[in-house]
């Protein structure tokens, strides 16, 4: 199809022709086009359907403020809904679909909504779908969601990568128009470290969109020359396609760089977008201004646009939306559009100026004091009706209407920290004011300075101010001559006689809706927004809010600043969720920690589970084993019969040294450590300040002034942080030094009756492993395998004769292989977390299930460990009466009366004969397993006064899972209660 609306000139590269598809129709465009400009060039004005009424809509703007022309860009997994055609850079092979229509854009069956509009006024959801209440979730909401909405997701994983990055600078300049360019040149040439970001792919702002000369050349040429100068400066980072979307604390800004959005597919390894966190000493906001529409009858037809957008399309993209264009304005800027279009050869059929003193023109027809009364054209504008100042209606045929209601400075980023803009009567707009983000200044149109000369000057002046603050000497580059026309406007917000006049085109909010909200007492501007949806969704009301405020002010009898604005929040423009995730997705969502034996375990076919960030072997299936229980039972039986090995590296290890190391441990553990001999290990219980158990572990005394503390895997970081807090804040006078050594040592549990025999094969001669020389709870530094230094601990979580042996981590892989090799004669078995868990339950050892943040030492049956002879954290508050009542929960063992029954964790305990109610609750099950040694299920749990109820048969209930059977209360030590095995 020919580009019938393409004009001469422009900043597109006609030597590169691109083919693209929109709704199954192929078109041609050029490098430098946006999707919107290319569609307009091909005489496509209809680009979408409205949110609620499915009214035909076309492009309204030429920038990121676009409310209407949203498409599903690309296809397949790369499909991206709600993409603004005005910012989508054209590339060869681009695919786009219109959205929120069925079956086609030109014929949309849901347009019936428009006929039923009287039922869909503001707040209709809340009024219409009140009854019956049960219908809301199942019927009303799904119907509404199908009928209203934006684009649809691909529901496939995004195949592209996203990234995050960090930049630092003296000065961040946001926006690359004349003010930003002048600021960047001034700061760059003065030696400041500058980041210069602009959301457009062609930096220059309105210099690229206007026809005015600057310094004897076109604005675009001057901008290109200045950008080239800036890019040559090593201290300036020029960032096109980068939207600074949020102003955060302490000079930090969020910016999204669209690295590959202009390509069909990102280059190999390159991200689609990068979210930059920019830390700046100062920032200058040069975000420009947005032209606002005037509200009038049927002002939403395709072809009705911002006047400045029509001018932009003509000057930059060499495109006109139609061959006959009219202008509706309340200020001089509308006339600039008329002049530029005339210069481009487009017929300007009339300029309707609401001002009675509108400037006359010899080039085009001016209707001073006229207003638009009605428009015509179902899928695109064909005619307007003008109410003449002296009465009567004049009909004018045209395919496009440019509307100029004045300009709003883009104050958004100045308000991201709850600042509020202030009203400026001269330009009839809000300008930055009040409290702004730390270090931010504003220049150019964003500050209400609308002439090019003013923007250049204010940009340079803002940079000088920043440079002075930073202690740098400003070098002032000469600024070129530029237009300096005053902004002359007579506010005119809406045509009051209109019946269906659109304030917010993205949300289908009419002037009537705003009046209705006021009538129904939604008078706060924030309530107005939520009741009508004015200013919501992807455009955040950039073109609509001010008209809404003006109408609200009018009906409330207030001024616009009295009505005020709603809160501005990041992001400034829609931001993809993917870029917030960056590279943290899939298996790389968070880092993974691997144990030293991981590679060996993989070779054995181990099944892994997450324990914090660690991946730990859960069980090691053998050929023929089809269920995890088979593997687990075998590992348990093999270990208890002979010997098993488990990688326990993930348990936290904290090195504690210093003259006061023992006194320090006495403070953090509730039981005593001062008298622990060198070469011994002690179990320790750590309490929180409120007396609840924080963690448990062991402390091995390697020397008078040197301990190694172990923690549970999940609490390693928390315990270390707690100990640092105690050291630095509670005990600053103690000579004690802490550092984590969790990763420095590969540690393996070697458990079972043959563990000593196995270790004798690898521990070097000269070290006596006999029970007498190295008894239960001994520790020593030894050498193994001919001289490798190692640490040996005789501790047992399984309840067996057991050791833990540690070597420098780089030897962990070799050690597990050596242990397995040496253990062949003992039928050694590696065991995973499941078997470890079974064995510790059989032994009655507590773990995270029991140390669950609600339990005390008393609950765990370790009340006597809380020493009264010394001060320790949590010991005083553990004595609170409420924690020490006669029927306090106590750790008990539970076994089913019928051996076939399980004892599932989470089930609750009820005294037989009582009703199953919370009031009758006697306790709950914390850990459960099948014991292959006992031949039935067993469990640990907390039971009121449980230690006095051994032998009692009690009801186990779980209303959620249908459990209801009897269990017997027994000792938590199912196996070897006297500890003979571990002391063997």
């Amino acid at each position: 199809m020919s580009q019938k609306n393409r004009l001469d000139g422009g900043l597109i590269d006609r030597s590169e022709a691109f083919s693209f598809r929109f709704d199954n129709q192929y078109y041609k465009g050029h490098k430098g086009d946006t999707l919107a400009s290319a569609l307009l060039a091909n005489d496509v004005r209809l680009m979408g359907r409205s949110f609620k009424y499915h009214r035909p809509r076309g492009v309204m703007t030429a920038g990121s403020e676009e409310p209407n022309a949203m498409v599903e860009l690309r296809d397949g997994a790369r499909k991206e809904p709600n993409t603004r055609a005005t910012t989508a850079e054209l590339f060869d092979g681009l695919r786009a679909e219109s959205q929120n229509r069925w079956p086609s854009l030109a014929f949309d069956a849901m347009e019936v909504n428009d006929l039923l509009s009287s039922f869909f006024a503001a707040g209709f959801y809340y009024k219409t779908f009140m009854w019956p209440a049960a219908f809301w979730e199942k019927i009303y909401e799904p119907i509404i969601r199908r009928a209203a909405g934006l684009g649809s997701l691909s529901t496939q994983d995004d195949p592209d990568g996203y990234d995050k990055g960090f930049l630092h600078c003296d000065l961040l300049i946001i926006g690359g128009g004349p003010a930003g360019l002048a600021a960047a040149l001034t700061a760059g040439e003065s030696g400041a470290r500058v980041i210069f970001a602009d959301e457009d792919f062609l930096i220059g702002g309105r210099l690229n969109l206007e026809s005015d000369a600057i310094g004897g050349m076109s604005g675009a040429a001057w901008a290109a020359e200045m950008v080239a100068r800036l890019e040559a400066m090593p201290n300036v980072r020029v960032m096109p396609r980068t939207t600074v979307m949020g102003a955060f604390d302490h000079g930090v800004y969020g910016a999204v760089e669209r690295v590959s959005d202009h390509l069909k597919v990102p280059q190999d390894g390159k991200p689609r977008q990068i979210l930059w966190r920019i830390t700046s000493k100062r920032a200058i906001l040069c975000a420009g201004a947005t032209e606002r529409p005037i509200v009038f009858e049927n002002n939403d037809r395709p072809g009705i646009m911002q006047a400045s957008a029509i001018r932009a399309y003509a000057n930059r993209w060499a495109v006109t939306p139609a061959q006959q264009v009219a202008i509706f304005t309340n200020n001089d800027d509308g006339h600039r559009t008329a002049s530029d279009l005339m210069a481009k050869g487009v017929e300007v059929v009339s300029v309707i100026d609401t001002r009675a003193d509108a400037p006359a023109s010899s080039d085009y027809d001016v209707i001073a004091g006229g207003v638009i009364d009605q428009t015509w054209g179902r899928l695109g504008l064909t005619q307007i009706e003008v109410k003449m100042p002296k009465g009567g209606i004049r009909r004018i045929k045209c395919g496009a209407l440019g509307v100029s209601g004045g300009w709003n400075p883009n104050v958004h980023l100045t308000c991201h920290q709850r600042g509020r803009p202030v009203w400026n009567d001269t330009i009839a707009a809000f300008v930055p004011g009040g409290t702004m983000p730390m270090g931010m200044t504003v220049a150019g149109a964003a500050n209400g300075v609308f002439s090019t000369h003013g923007a250049l000057t204010s940009g340079a002046d803002a940079a000088k101010g920043v440079l002075s603050d930073l202690g740098l000497t400003a070098k002032t580059p000469p600024l070129p001559e530029a237009e300096d026309a005053p902004a002359r406007i007579t506010p005119f917000w809406h045509v009051k006689t209109a019946k269906r006049a659109w304030v917010d085109q993205q949300n289908d909010v009419t002037a009537k809706d705003i009046k209705l909200a006021h009538q129904e007492n939604f008078r706060s501007v924030e309530h107005l927004k939520r009741y009508t949806t004015l200013g919501m969704a992807t455009d955040q009301g950039k073109t609509s809010n001010i008209a809404g405020l003006a109408i609200m002010a009018e009906v409330a009898g207030k001024s616009i600043p009295e009505v005020g604005t709603t809160m501005f929040r990041p992001p400034y423009t829609p931001t993809a969720m993917g870029v917030f995730a960056g590279r943290a997705w899939g298996t790389e969502t968070r880092p993974t920690r691997l144990t030293p034996s991981h590679r060996w375990a993989e070779e054995q076919g181990a099944v892994f589970t997450e324990a914090g960030l660690w991946l730990r072997a859960q069980w090691f299936p053998k050929p023929g084993e089809t269920h995890w229980r088979e593997s687990c039972d075998r590992e348990v039986l093999q270990t208890r019969k002979s010997v098993g090995i488990c990688d326990v590296t993930s348990l936290g290890k904290i090195d504690v040294q210093g003259a006061d190391a023992a006194a320090f441990l006495n403070m953090v553990y509730c039981n005593g450590f001062a008298k622990l001999p060198v070469g011994k290990v002690r179990y320790g219980l750590m309490l929180r300040e409120d007396g609840i158990v924080m963690d448990d572990g062991t402390a091995a005394r390697l020397a008078e002034d040197h301990f190694v503390v172990t923690t549970t895997t999940g609490n390693a970081v928390g315990v270390y942080r707690h100990m640092e807090f105690v050291r630095q804040c509670l005990c600053p006078d103690m000579d004690v030094q802490l550092i984590s050594t969790t990763e420095a040592w590969a540690q393996f549990a070697v458990a079972g009756p043959n563990s000593r025999a196995l270790l004798r094969k690898i521990v070097d001669d000269g070290f006596d492993l006999s029970n007498a020389a190295f008894p239960f709870m001994a520790c020593a530094e030894v050498t193994i395998c001919g001289g490798l230094r190692a640490r040996l601990f005789r501790i047992s979580f399984s309840g067996e004769l057991a050791y833990e042996i540690a070597v420098p981590t780089r030897y962990g892989d070799a050690l597990i292989r050596r242990l397995m090799d040496a253990g062949k004669e003992f039928d050694v078995a590696p065991y995973g977390l499941e078997a470890l868990n079974v064995m510790r339950i059989e032994k009655g050892h507590a773990t995270a299930n029991e140390l669950n943040g609600t339990t005390t030492a008393l609950n765990l049956g370790m009340g006597r460990m809380v020493s009264k002879k010394k001060d320790s954290i949590g010991s005083v508050l553990s004595e609170r009466p409420g924690l020490n009542e006669d029927d306090a929960l106590k750790l008990v063992g539970l076994k089913p009366v019928d051996p076939e029954n399980p004892v599932p964790a989470g089930a609750h305990l009820m005294t037989k004969g009582t009703k199953v109610t919370a009031a009758n609750d006697q306790g709950y099950v914390t850990s459960a397993c099948y014991s292959p040694n006992l031949g039935h299920h067993i469990a640990l749990g907390f039971l009121k006064a449980g230690d006095a109820r051994l032998g009692e048969v009690i009801r186990l209930v779980s209303p959620l899972t249908g459990v209801n059977h009897d269990v017997e209360v027994v000792s938590a030590h199912f196996l070897d209660p006297e500890g003979e095995r571990l002391r063997a």
């Binding site: 390159k270 990068i274 920690r593 660690w614 030094q737 990763e743 001289g787 070597v807 981590t809």
Partner: protein, 188 residues
């Protein structure tokens, strides 16, 4: 002499080396590490020992002394990480304990960390996608604590300045390597 074979943090017998667009990321296992924490009341004596060891004053916050064979960087108040070639200092902890005696607590850290050397003229571009540090202002001998993809790291600027040394948690070596390689792919 024992007969157990060590492996590198990434799991190989030999260090992993990857090069992309003139930047090389190399695992560097030949490094012994030990933390030195001054005992209370012995801070000056500890610093004197460090000065003697490094032929330079103990590094201040954010700084390293890149001496050969022993080097050190600051990791906390009166606390430093000392490094030396592993081949000659496998028992660096024992050697330092003998030297510092009761003036400092010495803890072996050798295998607590994976060490990557990132070399090439565009290493700064890679780091910008990894860590929130002002890499442009980082001079040779600077040592900063930062975070790469949620992992705590130390980053040192070496001599010449186109080389960075990155220490990360050894158990997460694969995740850190993936993060650095991804950043290289994106930046270079």
């Amino acid at each position: 002499m024992h007969d157990l074979a060590p492996i590198c943090a990434l799991g190989g017998a030999d260090p992993a080396i990857d090069t992309l667009a003139g930047v090389t990321l190399a695992e560097f296992p030949d490094l012994a590490l030990a933390s030195v924490s001054a005992r209370q009341g012995s801070e000056e004596a500890c610093r004197a020992q460090l000065k003697d060891l490094l032929n330079s004053a103990a590094p201040k916050p954010g700084r390293a002394v890149l001496n050969d064979p022993e080097a050190a960087f600051w990791i906390g108040p009166d606390q430093w990480m000392v490094s030396a070639p592993y081949a000659s200092h496998a028992d660096l902890t024992g050697q330092l304990k003998s030297r510092f005696q009761d003036t400092a607590s010495i803890t072996e850290q050798t295998d607590g960390w994976v060490c990557f050397d990132l070399r090439g003229d565009r290493v700064d571009e890679v780091i910008r996608l990894c860590a929130n540090i002002d890499i442009d202002q980082m001079q040779t001998g600077d040592a900063v604590r930062s975070v790469v993809h949620y992992m705590g790291v130390y980053i040192l600027r070496l001599d010449p300045a186109n080389a960075l040394r990155i220490f990360g948690p050894r158990s997460s070596a694969k995740s850190l390597h993936h993060a650095l390689m991804t950043a290289m792919g994106a930046a270079l």
